[in-house]
Subunit: 181 residues, 2 copies
């Protein structure tokens, strides 16, 4: 017999209503998630995350259905129009990346989702920069980048992460506890 304070999780029952996370969804650190562009099927999943903020990094417009979802649910939306790295001459704007990082690392915006379109390149570079701020070894940073890019690694992205050193201005009262001094 089941104890009163015990709950039995039945997979068959739970899977009767499937939940679809956005492409390349993952948790980066407490309060911060990453993904590709959410399609309508992933909206119930996003609601479960109780997001306060969604940050979109892409140099094009945001889809209407997604903007409507965001407004309907009172989520704070920030759109940074930033181009991806492109060999041999074009590079993500370092100052703009530092500005985006300051938003991502402000706990007043958490829980937060940062996404681009496929959740690989722009977001991969931003996550790489967060890992540098956490002082991760480059081996681990590149390994995480490649986990999402698979065989589509871009040397220009890895190079960007490696050379990025623009200071990031954080509000000392609202920086994440896990970002050690």
């Amino acid at each position: 017999m089941q104890r009163e304070d015990e709950q039995q999780l039945e997979i068959a029952e739970r899977q009767s209503q499937l939940i679809v996370p956005p492409l390349n969804f993952a948790m980066i650190a407490p309060g911060i998630y990453r993904s590709g562009f959410p399609n309508p099927k992933s909206h119930p999943f996003l609601l479960q995350l109780r997001l306060r903020t969604i940050i979109y990094v892409y140099d094009g417009d945001c889809q209407d259905y997604h903007m409507q979802f965001i407004e309907r649910n009172g989520i704070n939306h920030k759109h940074f129009r930033i181009a991806a790295n492109k060999e041999p001459f074009e590079e993500m704007d370092h100052a703009l990346v530092a500005e985006i990082l300051a938003e991502v690392l402000d706990t007043r915006n958490h829980p937060l989702l940062i996404h681009c379109n496929r959740g690989i390149r722009r977001v991969g570079c931003l996550v790489g920069c967060i890992r540098k701020l956490q002082a991760w070894a480059m081996t681990a940073i590149f390994d995480e980048y490649q986990r999402f890019s698979g065989t589509k690694i871009r040397i220009s992205d890895q190079e960007f992460i490696e050379v990025f050193k623009t200071p990031v201005h954080l509000d000392a009262q609202h920086k994440p506890q896990w970002l050690a001094d």
Copy 2:
């Protein structure tokens, strides 16, 4: 001039002392991390996570240096001796997997790290089962599994995740808030 309540994060300064996460480290959900076997270089990183519990899933002994680290830091250690799936006949023990999941999904153990040796197969299967409890679509579950296995996908692992349906007994007072009813 820098405002008093503002902090400037200088990457060059922060990277003077590199931090090495364990192999295949990632955050699964609030309070739960996954990885391969931590080597001594990754101990400072583990301390930053302020872990309450480390769960080791492997059918062999734990390394002495790691047990010493765990005892020295007052971390709760649980070792489940479980063999990996192996075509065509050997399969992870379903009842034992349900027992491990109940520990992983008990917030009294959080923050928690679950690890095997390479952080790919045993942990990949356990994470897959957690995703089933979250009602994730199999597409997303397999995609996450493959992010860590790369080209070393094991059909036996994916099959295990797909067929697993043993009920998991949780303490209703201490289950994660993100595990929706």
